[in-house]
């Protein structure tokens, strides 16, 4: 591992060579098996932008989200937040840093204590931080948060089960914003919502970002949403970054990224497509793959691809790709 490059001013988060292993099994005559959920990922999250991470289940996107906030410890590699190496921070320092970095979860119901009223749920972050508030301050805080996410003040004394899915997710967002963070990790924040509500939440996240100058890391499996919402799109497969697209309009040149984006159906019957069938299945995460993770299914794979892992190379304009034989 070389020396990590200094964080550029315009990058809020710099991820370098990040790897996380999990192991399972093991017993009499059976070795423990190790999988790399996130495998040597390097990535910058530019300030004030939305960086999207897409991939299919098991590609490591949620593990990456947790590593970035140090909710999980990395096996190797570093995450720098605003120039500070997270792994080097003590627990106390980490708690202070956490004020600036928050997470919005997929399932707002399990993210909020069902026995807490909305008011109490919104004040909980201040208790965790050991920040005393007078009754008047607490009221002002809750009022502000509630109106910021477009909820009615009547809901303050409600319990989560009395709210609809969309309202609960608004509470989840309000809670994440309570301590005035600069960075939000959004882990599939709309995956459990109906489309009409999903669009409301994305609209809310867009305006909050402008208003509060936030930086987002947006984890999703929904390609149309990612392409609409994100300034940059990171495509992951089996724990590795395959391609980083500099903008929604950029044409993917990695064979996997191409296949992934191509399997997205446009909501327009005039633009039906003939699906290119990818052969095979996603390999087991326990398999050790010396070369490109996609080689077994890739139409352009050569001997080199099976032998040697392609490095993430810059094509210019921030378009990065890990492929020995990129598409034209």
């Amino acid at each position: 591992m070389g020396i990590a490059p200094a964080t550029k001013d315009d990058d809020l988060v710099t991820i370098t060579g990040l790897t996380r292993e999990f192991s399972s099994g093991g017993g009499f005559l059976r070795p423990r098996r190790t999988m790399r959920a996130v495998n040597d990922v390097s990535l910058d999250v530019p300030r004030g932008k939305v960086t999207g991470v897409v991939g299919e289940s098991g590609c490591g996107k949620s593990t990456l989200a947790r590593l970035v906030l140090r909710l999980l410890e990395a096996t190797t590699g570093t995450v720098e937040f605003d120039g500070k190496d997270l792994a080097a921070q003590s627990q106390g320092e980490m708690r202070k840093l956490r004020r600036q970095m928050q997470m919005v979860f997929q399932d707002p119901y399990s993210a909020i204590d069902p026995r807490y009223t909305i008011r109490r749920a919104l004040l909980e972050p201040f208790q965790v931080q050991g920040e005393a508030q007078t009754a008047a301050e607490a009221k002002a805080t809750v009022d502000e948060l509630i109106s910021m996410v477009g909820l009615s003040p009547r809901m303050m004394e409600s319990f989560p089960h009395q709210l609809s899915g969309g309202q609960k997710q608004r509470v989840g967002i309000a809670r994440a914003l309570a301590l005035r963070p600069t960075f939000l990790v959004l882990d599939e924040p709309t995956a459990s919502l109906d489309v009409s509500i999903q669009a409301q939440i994305i609209d809310l996240l867009e305006s909050l970002k402008e208003e509060l100058g936030l930086t987002y890391l947006f984890i999703s499996h929904d390609l149309s949403l990612v392409r609409y919402f994100c300034d940059r799109v990171v495509v992951m497969y089996l724990g590795r970054v395959m391609e980083i697209l500099p903008g929604a309009e950029a044409r993917p040149r990695h064979h996997y990224a191409h296949a992934l984006l191509d399997s997205n159906f446009e909501p327009d019957p005039a633009r039906r497509k003939v699906v290119t069938m990818l052969g095979g299945e996603i390999p087991s995460p326990f398999a050790t793959i010396p070369g490109c993770a996609f080689a077994a299914r890739c139409p352009a794979a050569s001997e080199l691809c099976k032998r040697e892992r392609p490095p993430l190379a810059d094509l210019g304009n921030g378009h990065m790709i890990a492929c020995h034989h990129p598409m034209d």
């Binding site: 669009a199 409301q200 609209d203 069938m277």
Partner: protein, 316 residues
């Protein structure tokens, strides 16, 4: 005469009336999409067609369901059993609700054709192997011996489709068949289903909340909202020229390639709860065009310039 014709069915479960006047029909070689958000009554409609409503304590209080010239409502359970699995097959969202975890996959597919077609065990096995191969599953013989837990989600869903096809049905009811799957797998399964419908002259009732899937696969579309039909039309008209404001708004909720940032708005409010349906048109509290009449009077489902819709204000 359509293969399946559902005429104005209403359903009650206890005090609640989750479906009201649902009407549509499906022909052979046709894919009908049934779309709507959660609570719109999509799955319940599927249960009506399958004759499974009594299992959850529901009754059809009104209307008729005619399948191949025969009224299904009021048919004795023994008659329904002859239809279910043989002429009308169901594919559910989670393949594990259709597969028995402790029986090899092959045996489960074989069972369908021995039971419904009276095939010998050998003939049934040959048929199953053939079906597995048709669904583009590699190594059919190995898969025939495998147990469900040994397969991925996408493979399991293909096996469920093979089971549905085993007795050569006329109608397949697929309730969110790809919702639990990854996009690349979803694309493949949808493609396979479309080909099957065309090759085998099947009728497919495809229940989904995904407008992308609807646009890709369906011939005609029924849009449900809060237990009623908002509109029914050909897929081209539904997307290009929706007759109900709900349909129009729903389509706007899906981001398109190249859409301006900040232009995705969603539909204000939320789908009403069944215990609290508004009077008149059930979409009126969220509709930007709602007038007094929408709040007071239920719009009838009527013929428009194309298709049918239930809106006081869409052109006639």
């Amino acid at each position: 005469m359509a293969l399946l014709s559902v005429q104005s069915i209403s359903v009650s479960i206890g005090q609640l009336n989750p479906l009201e006047g649902v009407t549509f029909d499906i022909d052979k070689r046709e894919i009908l999409g049934l779309v709507g958000e959660s609570g719109s009554g999509k799955s319940l409609t599927a249960m009506c067609v399958m004759g499974l409503l009594p299992r959850i304590g529901g009754t059809i209080t009104n209307g008729s369901i005619i399948f191949d010239g025969r009224e299904l409502i009021g048919l004795p359970e023994i008659e329904l059993r002859r239809l279910r699995g043989k002429r009308i097959a169901l594919i559910s969202q989670n393949p594990m609700t259709s597969l028995d975890p402790i029986i090899p996959i092959g045996a489960q597919i074989d069972q369908v054709s021995t039971l419904h077609l009276g095939l010998s065990p050998e003939a049934a096995k040959a048929r199953s192997l053939d079906l597995i191969a048709q669904l583009r599953i590699p190594e059919p013989a190995a898969i025939h011996r495998a147990y469900p837990h040994q397969l991925s989600g996408g493979m399991k869903q293909r096996i469920v489709i093979a089971m549905a096809l085993a007795a050569d049905p006329d109608l397949i009811v697929a309730d969110e068949p790809t919702t639990a799957l990854d996009v690349t797998i979803q694309a493949q399964i949808i493609q396979i289903m479309v080909e099957l419908v065309r090759d085998r002259s099947l009728a497919l009732m495809l229940i989904t909340h995904d407008m992308g899937v609807v646009a890709q696969a369906c011939d005609r579309v029924v849009v449900l909202y809060a237990g009623r039909v908002a509109e029914m039309n050909t897929v081209g008209e539904v997307f290009a020229n929706p007759k109900h404001p709900y349909t129009r708004e729903l389509i706007r909720c899906i981001p398109r390639l190249g859409q301006e940032p900040g232009s995705l708005k969603g539909i204000p409010g939320a789908v009403p709860s069944i215990v609290d349906y508004p009077d008149g048109c059930r979409f009126n509290p969220r509709c930007s065009e709602a007038q007094e009449i929408c709040r007071g009077q239920v719009p009838a489902l009527e013929r428009k310039s194309s298709g049918i819709a239930a809106c006081h204000f869409s052109e006639v």
